[in-house]
């Protein structure tokens, strides 16, 4: 009976050892799975190779800092304006973002993320700020004469700049507020050409336009 009991315990111990053997392989297996998923998302879905656990940091210039997000809106008067600080929404509107953040939009921009941001923006009011546009343009052309043709194509008068209105802020408690009928979001990428020593701004995602439902 004792020998029978000993014989029964040997297979259980072997099973336990086998389970531990396979469990101990888990860390490298998890690394492989995460890295393969990251490769797929980066090559097919717009994820920056620097992030996501694929060990692609410092492999290309397509890091989060090389991505630029431009948000523009159209007022009820039909005027096109530039929107800044779009993630600094009033607290009662932030839930509409559903987890979209500036960082997320730079690292892994998707149409859905842009739509969520656009819908949240359309539910907010905006105030105008002084962007110093003309001075910026002049300085840019002085530093980079090749930009002159591009600047010449822009509207002659300065482009108005708006930020989200937060009535709790003292410097925003008075003055006109505006709401928007349309928001457009474009995500660009800075692309470097070593041969020409030039950095170009290239759209990474097709412009996403969100309109107020009438």
């Amino acid at each position: 009976m004792i020998m029978q009991k000993s014989r029964d315990s040997i297979p259980k111990q072997q099973t336990a050892d086998e389970v531990m053997h396979w469990t101990s392989q888990a860390p490298p297996l998890v690394l492989i799975v995460v890295a393969v998923v990251q490769i797929l998302l980066a090559t097919q879905g717009g994820l920056s190779p620097w992030k996501g656990g694929g060990f692609g940091m410092f492999s290309s210039s397509d890091g989060p800092d090389s991505r630029v997000v431009e948000v523009t809106g159209i007022t009820r008067d039909g005027e096109s304006v530039v929107l800044r600080n779009v993630f600094a929404l009033p607290s009662n509107q932030r839930s509409r973002l559903h987890g979209v953040s500036a960082r997320r939009l730079h690292v892994f921009p998707t149409v859905r993320q842009c739509e969520r941001l656009g819908n949240a923006i359309l539910n907010c009011r905006f105030v105008e700020i002084d962007s110093g546009w003309e001075a910026l343009q002049t300085r840019f052309v002085k530093m980079n004469p090749s930009a002159q043709p591009l600047i010449a194509e822009m509207p002659k008068r300065p482009v108005r700049t708006f930020i989200p209105w937060d009535p709790r802020r003292l410097n925003q408690s008075s003055g006109s507020t505006y709401d928007l009928t349309q928001v457009s979001i474009v995500v660009y990428r800075l692309v470097y050409s070593g041969a020409a020593n030039r950095i170009s701004l290239v759209p990474l995602l097709s412009p996403v336009t969100i309109r107020i439902r009438t």
Binding site: G56, F58, V68
Partner: protein, 290 residues
């Protein structure tokens, strides 16, 4: 006196806790519990080897890292995988040393394998383009670039100003001409091929099965060379530290000198956090202001 197996495992456990305290947290929600739990485990031998404590660390780390998966650096992932390996080792004390050695070896080899994949896939290493872009635009490299290539700091500042402007005023199709010189191109090609070589050697050395007759000494030399030549140029102290710790953990208990060498490397790489460029900035060439 020869270190016992349990003592050696305890050293790895403690070093891992120190790594977690310094570099493991991706947010304050993780950082504060880490300080409490890891601190308690460092001073309490029973807690140090507790599978429940290590399991708690892994679960908390995985939860926080999963929520910030798109923003955390790759070394946070690697630290997470290593914590998992340590927790498995804590669950099975009989095989702890073997589990730690095997997992450390494979994690090092795999992270270099994927790093090499990305460097070849992107193509910007084969033509030196990425490092040229980094040398011309990354503020962390401006003093190194200026000292080694003769390109004035004012030129590098102008390059960054132009990029900032394009960020503030994005215009589709906009192009900016950055300042450079021939020495930057030469330096970037040289550094690119050195990086490709050393990372490929590391990947091969650390993934080769143990049965092959290649001295393990070569793989240690390759890893230490990579850590010391890379992270003093591009300081990512967390990554350097976790690689040094993994190298230590992968070294068998009989190879005492190599284990001590890894401990020294782990300490030395902390010096890469010193803002060296600020001390030598006065030795860089000056250019005329625009």
């Amino acid at each position: 006196m020869r270190q016992s197996v349990q003592e050696h495992v305890d050293v790895i456990f403690r070093a891992t806790l120190a790594l977690l305290l310094l570099f493991g947290a991706s947010a304050w929600q993780l950082g504060i519990p880490f300080r409490i739990l890891c601190g308690a485990m460092l001073v309490g031998p029973q807690l140090l080897r507790s599978p429940a404590c290590w399991g708690t660390i892994v679960l908390a780390q995985t939860y926080c890292n999963a929520n910030a998966w798109f923003s955390i650096d790759n070394h946070k992932y690697l630290i997470n995988y290593w914590s998992l390996a340590v927790s498995i080792a804590a669950m099975q004390p009989r095989f702890a040393l073997r589990i730690l050695e095997q997992n450390a070896t494979r994690l090092i080899g795999l992270c270099f394998l994927f790093a090499v994949f990305w460097k070849f896939y992107g193509g910007q290493f084969l033509n030196g383009e990425f490092l040229k872009y980094a040398l011309l635009t990354d503020s962390r490299l401006e003093v190194t670039t200026s000292m080694t290539t003769g390109l004035p700091l004012t030129s590098l500042n102008r390059n960054r100003d132009l990029i900032e402007f394009v960020r503030d005023l994005p215009i589709a199709g906009a192009q900016i001409q950055v300042e450079s010189n021939h020495a930057v191109s030469t330096l970037s090609i040289s550094l690119s091929y050195w990086t490709l070589l050393i990372e490929t050697v590391c990947a091969v050395m650390w993934l080769i099965p143990r049965g092959w007759s290649i001295p393990v000494y070569f793989r240690d030399v390759s890893l230490i060379t990579f850590v010391l030549t890379t992270y003093f140029v591009l300081p990512v102290v967390g990554f350097a530290s976790v690689l040094a710790l993994l190298g230590y953990s992968a070294t068998s208990i009989e190879r005492r000198r190599m284990r001590n060498t890894y401990l020294w490397v782990l300490l030395i790489v902390q010096l890469s956090s010193i803002p060296w460029p600020a001390f030598v900035e006065g030795m860089t060439p000056t250019g005329t202001n625009l």
